[in-house]
């Protein structure tokens, strides 16, 4: 049975526990970064940050500031376009595990040319993969494949203190997503689920994706 995540962004407080838990579990080092006028730090996903909480603020018509948080990560697509593109160049560079539904970059990524890498990165509708010059690897969230295949939940979900992130069987997560969406409609009339049929990391937004992140949802 494929697994899925639900990310209810209306519950996220941007504590960034998930971002740090991901970094620590994958033994990724700290990187040099700069304050760019937002709490979003580092400014973008990179080989050392496979999970990143994105910050976005806007003013409503009645001059109130709305601050939205978007804990960005690979969506582990049901039909991953990155895998299709990679297979044209190096079959097996990106694979999809049939048990968990995890989309994984393998060591074969090192055989990809610069053009292949560019094509894969451009193809991702969610702007997720990043290229690591040092290891010649494509990097992105691996659904904590080692944990999940040993019966544990991904580290980001485990660390989440607000219940923003939930992990489980896809069928159950879809049902929970619909239940939460219905409940949220009262307080967030514009709430919607991002591409629930196509992805295994289902984001629940409180309003239009423009107020979260350009690549928050595809449809």
């Amino acid at each position: 049975m494929p697994k899925a995540f639900l990310v209810d962004t209306t519950r996220c407080t941007a504590c960034r526990g998930c971002q740090m838990a991901c970094k620590d579990w994958h033994n990724l080092p700290a990187i040099e970064t700069k304050q760019t006028g937002t709490h979003q730090n580092p400014p973008d996903l990179n080989p050392c940050n496979l999970k990143l909480v994105r910050f976005h603020e806007h003013k409503t018509k009645d001059n109130k500031v709305v601050w939205n948080f978007f804990p960005d990560q690979c969506r582990h697509c049901v039909n991953p376009i990155c895998k299709d593109v990679a297979d044209m160049a190096v079959p097996g560079a990106i694979i999809k595990d049939s048990q968990t539904g995890a989309v994984l970059c393998t060591e074969k990524c090192k055989e990809l040319t610069a053009d292949d890498v560019k094509a894969i990165i451009t193809a991702c509708p969610y702007n997720i993969p990043r290229y690591d010059e040092a290891t010649k690897m494509l990097t992105k969230c691996d659904m904590c494949f080692d944990r999940v295949s040993n019966g544990l939940i991904p580290m980001c979900v485990k660390s989440c203190p607000t219940g923003t992130m939930v992990f489980g069987e896809r069928a159950e997560i879809l049902a929970e997503a619909k239940r939460r969406l219905e409940a949220l409609k009262k307080t967030f009339p514009k709430a919607y689920l991002c591409d629930p049929k196509d992805v295994n990391v289902i984001f629940l937004l409180g309003e239009e994706k423009e107020h979260y992140y350009e690549y928050a949802s595809f449809m």
Partner: protein, 188 residues
Amino acid sequence: MQSTRRSFLKGVGAGVLCLTLGQLGFDLTEAKAYAKELKIKGARAVTSVCPFCAVCCQIIAYERNGELISTEGDPDFPINEGSLCAKGASLWSMYTNKHRPTKPMYRAPYSDKWVEKDWDWTLDRIAHLVKEARDKDLILKNEKGQTVNRLETVFWMGTSHASNEECAAIHQSMKSLGIVSMDHQARV
């Protein structure tokens, strides 16, 4: 950007459909090859407490051959139920960080250099300074002539992790010196 991505996808999607079908069955073996052992497998699990705020989230520290492998929230602890914030989630990085001081650091008055010292020297130095300050500054009586025995030049910085009993012991020992200013680290 969005529209170019979308049109690009349409073309690619149609082109690779037959390729993908032809490669069914390929996935499983590859995923098995990818699967690595859990890094915490066989490691000793020790419960500990996050050192930062007064919530005192419990953590599980995984240790192997005296080396810290990983840390994560303890799901059995009723306060945090396995979850952690960014500070608690980064304990492994904090512990293994090369910038983390592991010995007392001393900067002499007017010096611009930090020097490593051992605990014996450090505790002796603190004791001497407390005594010096107390001998010099202890206020025995206030303006009205009432006995106060107050030491206003020493500040006690405790910890939000202290239990009631520890707080009582700290409070009484500090009060016996006349110290009136006390707080814990989570508020600074």
